[in-house]
Each structure stands twice: as C-alpha cells, then as structure tokens.
C-alpha cells in the first residue's frame, strides 16, 4: 500500500555518471525494519544508549523514514502520575490541548521534551510531556458506587485528543514510561531526544522501512496507549477488520499505520479482558485449525473459544512485534514466522532483536541465544512487583517532586 518515496524506481533517463557507478541499475533496497528490546528483570535501570547502539547496528534495515524508542522506569519522581508525551503540529494546538488536560486532569508538570539541535531528523514537530493525575470529579464522573476505571478514563481522553483536536497526537500515556519517536534513522532520533540521558529497566527500539503508509512523526514506532507500546516489523494485512473491531470497543485509529491496532488489541485483551499473555498471543497468532484438531480436549476448547470470540483480532500477514508494558516485555511473531526474531539472555537481562549481531554488539557475554518458533511468545517479567528504583538524577532529566510542583 505504501509508496517508497525514498527510492524512485523505473523510467527516467540515467546520467552517464550513474551508468558508470551503477551499471546494472541495481537499486536494490535491502531494508526490512529493525526491532530491538531489552529488559533487566531485576529492575535495574540502564541508559537508553544501549538500545540506541543496538538499533543503530541494524541501520540498513530502515531507510530513514522512522525511528523510535520506548523506555520504562524513566520518571521515578513521577512514577505514580500518568505521563503524556504529546506531539503538536502547531503552537495553538498545544494551548488547546493544555486547556483540555487542565479540564480533565490534575496537571503536575508540563514541559517541552529536551532535544538536541543539529540532530539529523526532518521537520520535528513540537513535543511536550505532561505528568497528570486522574481527577474525575472535574468531569463529574465516578461515584462511590460506580468508581471510574482510571485506565479506561485515560484511553478515552487519549482518543478525544487524537480525534477531536486537530494536529495533536498522543505518543504515550502510561505511568513512569514514555515514547520518543520521529522521522529519521533510529540513531538520529536517539540523538535528537537525547536518549542516552534517560535510564529505564526496559527499552524497545525501532528502525522503520515504511512500506504501506507515509513516513511521518506520528507513524513512527513505537505505537502506544497507556503504558502499552508496540514495535513491529511486517505488515498487518488484517488491519481493516482489526480496526473495525477495535472501534467497537472505543479505540479509534488515527496514526495511519497498521501497527496501531496491535497496541489497542494488547490493551483490550490483556488489560480490559484480563487474558494472560499466552492466550493473547494465541488470539493474535492463533494455531492452525489442523493443529487445533490435534490438541487434547481441554486445550482444543480454549483454542476454539479464542478463535470464535476474537476472530476479528487475528493478525494476518507477516509480523514480528515486541509488545511492552510496565514490568513486562513480549516478543511474538506470526505463526509461520515470516519476519525474524532472536532472543537472548544474559543474567537478568532479556534481549529481543531482529538480528543476533545487534544483541552481541551491546552484550558479548550471553548465557543463551535462540530463535523462537513462530507464534510462540517470549516473555520477560520483572522479578519484583514494582521496579527497583535507584535514586534518579540523570543529566537532562528534570528531577522534580510533587511538592515542588504545587
């Protein structure tokens, strides 16, 4: 569906120089999207420069039309507030969104996300972050008998901003996490957002080779709602049916790219419907009917029920995704593994990557590396219920407490 703007092909006269330097007209594009994820299951926080180095090693898998990062455990001093990373295409929009936030939330702090001048990204928009608490009373919502579900409240407000306020898009809206993404190679996006200044216990990264939709800042990966983030290599051919199904549950797709549905599907299945990861994986990458036929009775009933109830959330087409939320990182491929995924462990750290070389580059001493089977989720979880938070004060990160803000 996508046009490859960066690589015009066919037609046109070729210059004598080009005929010499490229005698066969060989404009082969070897890109394919790159994914990387790292989680320290002990909760120890590490700098984003590690994932930036890893994803940069897969430079040739992207074409400069998108790169992005998601980090978890980034904002220990605000860890109980929801953090909105929001992109604005105009200044006026920012004021409109800030009005909206003040009406629906208790806003503790808002600031422009620090960036580095001279980074090689194209047309950066205005990107701010806000730390907010849910204040339903302001909306006249919720009561002692019918308390609101905070997360649902957040999702609804995110959809309102994305659909109701023009030129404003929420990059992420979870607690103690954030998404940084844009148009450029991932190493350039890392440079722009000063990713090395942040420390988190889990990170995912993406280098984009857009094949179906335009390369714009909102369309870069990770896609996110609440603290869910998704980076994706491949193509969700079932986007249309997935999107319609998710719309029935209040998720509106606005980012113009197929991957968006995976983030919303994860939220619906695993948060709202409380499915364990293993079953959610079987919704998105279900076993073949003939495999289901061979299952023992009890497993067959579950597999059949999932296909019957959630048929519209089957992700068709080739994909590898890394889905992340607070305390959990999941790698999953389509059931016939049409896109690559390699997993590795080193002590408490789980790595997921499109290529093993990227893992070894940042961690030469691995306990184990392996290639998972298609449709088999690889799951990393924090060993403690809450991330171990070390005293935070990294360069570039504002260390602010709630008191200072009031």
């Amino acid at each position: 569906m996508e046009t490859d703007h960066a690589y015009p092909v066919g037609g046109g006269r070729r210059s004598p120089v080009e005929r010499l330097s490229n005698p066969y007209g060989d404009d082969k594009v070897i890109a394919a999207c790159s994914l990387f994820g790292a989680m320290d299951t002990s909760g120890r926080r590490f700098s984003g420069s590690l994932v930036a180095t890893a994803i940069a090693n897969m430079h040739d898998r992207g074409n400069g039309l998108g790169g992005g990062f998601a980090g978890y455990g980034l904002y220990p001093n605000f860890k109980d507030s929801y953090c909105f990373h929001i992109m604005f295409l105009s200044k006026e929009t920012r004021h409109e969104v800030e009005d909206f936030l003040r009406r629906h939330f208790r806003v503790h702090h808002g600031e422009e996300i620090p960036t580095r001048r001279g980074a090689r990204v194209s047309n950066p928009p205005i990107i701010w972050r806000y730390f907010v608490d849910v204040a339903p009373a302001q909306d006249g919502l919720g009561s002692a008998t019918e308390p609101i579900v905070e997360a649902d409240y957040i999702v609804e407000r995110v959809m309102q901003i994305n659909t109701g306020i023009s030129d404003a898009f929420v990059f992420s809206s979870g607690k103690d996490m954030g998404v940084f993404k844009g148009v450029g190679f991932p190493e350039d996006v890392a440079d722009y957002f000063r990713i090395e200044d942040y420390a988190g216990y889990a990170w995912t990264a993406h280098g984009r080779f857009p094949t179906n939709t335009t390369g714009w800042w909102g369309g870069a990966h990770p896609f996110s709602v609440l603290d869910w983030t998704v980076v994706h290599n491949g193509e969700i051919s079932s986007y249309g049916i997935n999107r319609r199904y998710l719309e029935m549950h209040g998720y509106i797709c606005t980012m113009q790219t197929d991957t968006e549905v995976v983030a919303y599907a994860a939220d619906l299945l695993m948060r709202r419907h409380q499915l364990p990861v293993e079953l959610a994986a079987k919704v998105m990458a279900p076993p073949f009917w003939e495999v289901i036929d061979r299952m023992p009775e009890d497993q067959r009933e579950v597999a059949l029920a999932l296909r019957q109830v959630y048929g519209s959330l089957l992700l068709n087409g080739p994909f590898t995704v890394i889905i992340c939320r607070s305390g959990e990182m999941i790698g999953l491929t389509d059931r016939i593994r049409l896109r690559p995924l390699t997993a590795a462990t080193s002590g408490d750290v789980l790595f997921l990557s499109s290529e093993e070389a990227a893992i070894r580059l940042v961690c030469p001493d691995l306990d184990r590396t392996w290639i998972p089977m298609g449709g088999e989720p690889i799951i990393g979880r924090l060993k403690t219920s809450a991330p171990v938070v070390s005293p935070a004060s990294r360069n570039g990160i504002p260390v602010l407490t709630g008191e200072e803000q009031r």
Partner: protein, 268 residues
C-alpha cells in the same frame, strides 16, 4: 572509509578487525585481499569482531578461507564461489543464498532460509536451523548442493525444493522427541531430505513420500552419502560417526515433478 586495521601475520594469514566497519567496506577489503594484486599470497583471512555485516565472502574470485569471529550478518556466503567459511558463533538469516560452490561451517545455529536457491557446495551447521531452510535449492548434473545440520530444523524445511540434499541429524532432540519442523518438504519437486530421529506424518508436506532403509527406494548410495555427511560433521564438530549412523533415518522424496502445475497453467 573506516580503518580496516588489517595487518598480515605469518605471511599468509591476514587478520582484520571488523569492529565498526560498514559491510560494503568490509567486502571491498575482502575482495582486495583475495583478488587484488597485493593479496595473491593470502590463504586465510581472519575476521574479528564481526557484528552483522552482510554478504560476507560474496563475489570473491579465488579460493580462500575466511574465518569469522562474532556474528556475521544476513546473506553470509551469498553467491559464494569456491571459498571456505568458518564461523565461530551463530549465523543469521540467508546463509548460502544462491551459493555456487565452496564450504560453510557454522559452530552454532543458523537462521531462516539458509541455502535458499543454493546451486552447489556444502553448509555444515553444528546446531539447529531456522524456518524455510533449503527453500528452492536446486541441482544440475554434478552440481549437487548439500546442507548438513546437526540439530533439528524449524518449519518449512526444504520448501519448494528443486534439487540438492538436506540432512538433519537431530542430535539435539531428547529421547523420543520429534523433529520440530512442520510442513517439511511442502511443494518439494526434486532432491532429497534425510531426517534422523522421529517425525510424525502430519509434520510432512503433502508433496513428499517417505522411504526407510531396507525399502526398495533406499539404495547403498544413500548410506554412502550419509556416511560422508557424518564424517564431515564429526571432522568439524566432533562426535562419533557410527553413533550418528546408528540412528533411525528416513528419506523424503518428491512425489510430483510439478505439484502446482494445474495452479498456473491449464496443462498439467
């Protein structure tokens, strides 16, 4: 162009620190050392700190050995013609893509589509391999490519296989454990796949038939070939030839020359 840090040791072995070297520069350097006027006495190139550089050892004109430490990138030995590669580590996807001749030895596992469209030569893998290994391998007269895999394989092994030999020893399978691959030999229309260790009927593609030792279609030449593969495997990775050959083998052959003929033309 980054500093290649190349220095010649013992006259004929060249060592290259590939850290940070872009794949095009690394391959240009290999070409220079293998085929350039200054490199005529080089017999072996040792690459250190390899980290994902693609197409290593493609487009070299002279037989030479390349020893790789680290993780080579995709399409290692693509179109390779007569060289020898030894990898101390795992390989990624696309090893031996359209390889014409030579040998690749991988001391680890190897990723997807290894041996894709391979035309000749041999690839040895100590451990297991990924999806669609041997897809559309071919053969012609005395050019018969072979893949010798010590562990098991993932799905679609030998998919659309048009020639050559794939041998999977299954040495990493536990007692009674079946091979992992499903859809083995789907669309296969020539060549042969040898599997050592148990496999269930449903794991096989619809286009393959099964032959067991002692049956009419199993010939002494099959054992000769398997012995050669086991000897090669043991030479590279250790183990016992006889122990490998004592295992239970089956051979998969293509039942149809044109399994999908009717799909693409009215004439079968």
């Amino acid at each position: 162009m980054a500093d290649a840090s190349a220095d010649i040791r013992q006259g004929r072995i060249v060592e290259v620190n590939a850290a940070g070297l872009y794949y095009k520069d690394l391959n240009a350097l290999l070409r220079k050392m293998a085929d350039g006027p200054d490199g005529q006495d080089v017999a072996k190139i040792v690459l250190r700190n390899v980290a994902g550089q693609r197409y290593i050892a493609t487009d070299l004109d002279r037989p030479i050995e390349v020893e790789i430490h680290g993780t080579p990138g995709n399409d290692l030995a693509a179109f390779m013609n007569g060289q020898r590669i030894v990898v101390y580590g795992n390989a990624q996807d696309g090893v031996g893509n359209t390889m014409n001749s030579g040998e690749v030895v991988i001391h680890g596992h190897s990723g997807d589509i290894m041996g894709m469209s391979m035309r000749g030569g041999t690839i040895y893998v100590r451990d297991y391999v990924g999806y669609r290994v041997g897809i559309h391998m071919k053969e012609y007269l005395d050019k018969v490519p072979a893949l010798v895999i010590g562990g098991t394989a993932q799905d679609f092994l030998g998919e659309y296989m048009a020639g050559g030999r794939i041998v999977v020893f299954g040495l990493d399978l536990g007692p009674g454990e079946c091979h992992h691959a499903n859809f083995i030999g789907t669309g296969m229309h020539n060549g042969a796949i040898y599997l050592r260790g148990p496999v269930r009927d449903y794991q096989l593609g619809k286009e393959v038939g099964v032959v067991r030792p002692g049956e009419g279609l199993w010939s002494p030449a099959d054992w000769d070939f398997l012995r050669k593969c086991a000897e090669g495997y043991v030479r590279h990775f250790g183990g016992e030839v006889e122990e490998i050959l004592r295992g239970e083998f089956i051979k998969l052959y293509a039942k149809y020359l044109r399994p999908y003929g009717p799909l693409y033309s009215w004439r079968n």
